[in-house]
């Protein structure tokens, strides 16, 4: 059937795309979804239940392939899932590591699951400390959407009554492990909060999905669907509705415009045939993830939109923010030396966190503005990575490795960068991907504010280790490479003024009213919290707004 006109074209099937598809299809809208790579087969592609000795290279990977891995998640367990063919480039001086999952479900297949709500302290941060702009939305407006999302996906946590972290509707929390009890005691002594994280991992069966069995390899994908991902939670129902046409290996090239400059569909490359295909819809939802969505916008040039569709403000691709990640401290607990192994590594999850405790009462209390959070990690892992810190060999060496096994502890900081004119995405004029689509080019460096947080985090975590009776062994030499967090925000950010912002408070493009953006690119800046649950909540709101507009015609 040539030239079928769908109600909505959705570009991407991750958190934003998946939620948009789910909401639209349930409401009866006909949706064509484009996904840039293949479907995964959980029992084949998720090797989370394999032991190291079930893998030919014991999880260390084949040497030749290992050299091409992108970061720690691209490994022998998840081989073949991360995108290597679609290139991006880095401006001189920019460092950026970027593991992208283009498979159906995107990064929700492998996400970290930490799911704290944003609050007014985030939305009104500019009013508090004078830097940049407030969000065009209040917490009261978005709170009901967070509640609905939490009910859909299941988030385990407790009510914590903290000014930086609005509470939600939670499943029972995960239990604290030995290391959590010890750190909780230490944190109390020095006045740092140490609490159950908000984690989208099912501690009880929820919404037709089984409870977690705490096998510990969540980050290689869950083959029983005990944490939220769109292929487990949203896409099956959408496909069952009969309203979804999901096209895989469909790499979006650009958004198509009609003679009035409105969106009329999307052009994609079928990666199997290498042919360009067009699909048409009454509205387009862009949900390809922050940087990829900016790339699509900037590559969607027409007579009406010479700088990219909906980019009369010139802000598309600008305002790129990221989370600074890094190991602020590591050590071990002497009080646990030689104790039997505890199931401490279970879930390889953020069982606990230290939610932002800086600049709460007074926004200018610290040398930096805003704040960061910290995730603790440790316990009995799959591999004794501390082996090189022990001297010698022989029976004593073997015993020392065993003695240290339950004791390791480390901290990981999540610090937001602030927007700057020098952090942005544009299109590389000289480089195209394997399908002839111009590549995204990243311009990025840590800002002084986030580096001050890094220093502060290192001091705080060292102090916490010492207060907990642990041996302090140092910190990471520097933060992890930019891009590690996969929490990019800001490239199509929302605001009320069409001259300064690409999208409005509903994620709708100011210039092109039938173009909606449903990923973290609409977030005006980065916070101390992760992005996925907020992408889900904002998308739910945007998708319902879109449905109203569709009805109005």
């Amino acid at each position: 059937m040539p030239n079928q006109i769908y109600d909505v074209i959705v570009i991407g099937t991750g958190a934003g795309g998946g939620m948009a598809i789910h909401t639209l299809c349930q409401a009866g809208a006909k949706v064509c979804a484009l996904n840039a790579s293949r479907r995964l087969n959980p029992s084949k592609d998720f090797r989370n239940h394999r032991k190291p000795y079930d893998m030919p290279f014991r999880g260390f990977g084949e040497p030749a392939k290992r050299k091409k891995w992108i970061g720690y998640m691209d490994n022998e367990y998840t081989e073949g899932i991360w995108e290597h063919e679609i290139v991006f480039t880095k401006a001189p001086g920019t460092e950026w590591t970027w593991r992208r999952c283009f498979a159906v479900g995107g990064k929700t297949n492998f996400w970290g699951r930490s799911s704290a709500r944003f609050g007014d302290i985030d939305f009104r941060a500019a009013s508090r400390d004078g830097y940049d702009v407030d969000w065009p939305i209040t917490y009261a407006e978005i709170a009901p959407y967070y509640s609905r999302v939490e009910r859909m996906i299941g988030v385990a946590s407790t009510v914590q009554n903290r000014p930086s972290n609005p509470d939600g509707e939670y499943l029972p929390p995960m239990n604290f492990r030995c290391m959590d009890r010890i750190l909780e005691s230490g944190a109390r002594k020095i006045g740092i909060p140490y609490l159950p994280d908000r984690i989208a991992q099912l501690t009880v069966p929820h919404a037709g999905h089984p409870a977690c069995h705490y096998c510990a390899n969540c980050t290689e994908g869950c083959d029983v669907g005990a944490f939220f991902s769109t292929p487990w939670f949203f896409l099956p129902a959408a496909e069952k509705s009969g309203n979804l046409d999901l096209r895989t290996n469909a790499l979006c090239k650009n958004i198509l415009v009609d003679e009035n400059g409105r969106a009329k569909g999307a052009a994609y490359i079928d990666r199997n045939t290498k042919q360009e295909v067009e699909v048409y819809g009454k509205a387009v939802v862009l949900a390809a993830s922050c940087v990829e969505s900016a790339r699509i916008v900037l590559n969607s040039k027409s007579r009406r939109w010479p700088d990219g569709i909906a980019n009369s403000s010139g802000q598309a691709g600008r305002n790129l923010c990221d989370h600074l990640y890094g190991t602020t401290a590591r050590g071990y607990f002497p009080q646990l030396l030689g104790q039997p192994s505890f199931p401490d590594n279970v879930s390889s999850s953020t069982v606990a966190w230290m939610p932002r405790w800086q600049n709460l009462e007074n926004p200018r209390q610290e040398r930096f503005i805003r704040g960061y959070s910290v995730y603790p990690d440790g316990g009995c892992g799959e591999f004794p990575w501390y082996f090189d810190e022990i001297e010698g060999f022989g029976g004593d060496y073997k015993r020392q490795i065993k003695r240290r096994y339950p004791t390791p502890v480390s901290f990981y900081i999540q610090a937001p960068t602030q927007r700057s004119d020098t952090n942005y995405v544009d299109i590389d004029p000289a480089v195209k991907d394997a399908y002839g689509i111009p590549a995204a080019r990243l311009h990025f460096a840590w800002d002084r504010n986030s580096l001050l947080m890094w220093e502060h985090g290192k001091r705080s975590c060292e102090q916490l280790l010492r207060a907990s009776g642990a041996e302090y062994l140092g910190s990471g030499p520097e933060p992890d490479m930019p891009g590690t967090s996969l929490h990019e925000t800001g490239t199509l950010r929302m605001g009320n003024d069409p001259r300064r912002f690409v999208t409005n408070r509903f994620g709708q493009a100011h210039d092109v009213p039938n173009l909606y953006v449903c990923d973290a690119s609409v977030f005006p800046n980065c916070t101390d919290k992760t992005t996925t649950i907020s992408i889900l909540a904002f998308t739910l709101r945007t998708a319902e707004y879109l449905l109203q507009n569709l009805k109005k015609g």
């Binding site: 000795y53 079930d54 977690c212 096998c215 646990l336 030689g338 104790q339 279970v346 009995c380």
Partner: protein
């Protein structure tokens, strides 16, 4: 929990599937890493020469010996090292060869025979003298990698992951949050 039953079955089925996957032919050569005693009696090294391989095997046994629990030789660590080298692990190709050569040179200088022909006490002495050497670090690193990723090595640590728990495992030491009064260590 009332409806845990069905979920539990689903999960156990999935675990069984994963275990079955580990039996497919590509993984068969690691059988020695899984069951003590199942190790191939005559392994033909794919990268190293027979004498080199023999010395590597001895070294892994000195680094992680068999005592109350099986050691690196029981876990087939030398085979893992040879397999990696044969598949392009550059760090243990020439550097390992050079290291083995100088190890034999040291043994020859001190005792007039190659390292493999020394008594275990003499081998231990030679290795002690090399303990700050980059070759020692190298062979120790790959021995640890091979040993603690085998079934034997994970059992030695009592790795608690990849098991089925009905609840998120909780700290059992109630009443001792700082863990300062635990029973004396077993190890």
């Amino acid at each position: 929990m009332a409806n845990q039953g069905a979920d539990r079955r689903a999960v156990l089925e999935m675990l069984a599937k994963a275990a079955a996957a580990s039996q497919f032919p590509g993984f068969a050569r690691w059988a020695f890493g899984q069951q003590p005693g199942a190790r191939a009696a005559t392994y033909k090294p794919a990268y190293f020469s027979a004498p080199e391989y023999h010395t590597i095997d001895i070294l892994t046994g000195l680094i992680i010996p068999k005592d109350d629990s099986p050691g690196a030789q029981d876990a087939g660590v030398a085979e893992f090292i040879d397999f990696l080298a044969a598949h392009g692990e550059e760090e243990i190709q020439q550097p390992m060869r050079n290291g083995l050569k100088s190890l034999d040179a040291t043994a020859n200088k001190g005792y007039g025979v190659s390292f493999a022909r020394l008594s275990q006490e003499q081998q231990t002495e030679v290795l002690k003298r090399l303990a700050s050497d980059s070759f020692f670090r190298l062979i120790r690193r790959y021995t640890v990698m091979g040993y603690y990723t085998s079934r034997i090595g994970l059992a030695e640590l009592d790795y608690p992951g990849l098991r089925f728990y009905t609840e998120s495992p909780a700290c059992p030491h109630t009443g001792d949050p700082e863990h300062r009064h635990l029973p004396p260590p077993k190890v």
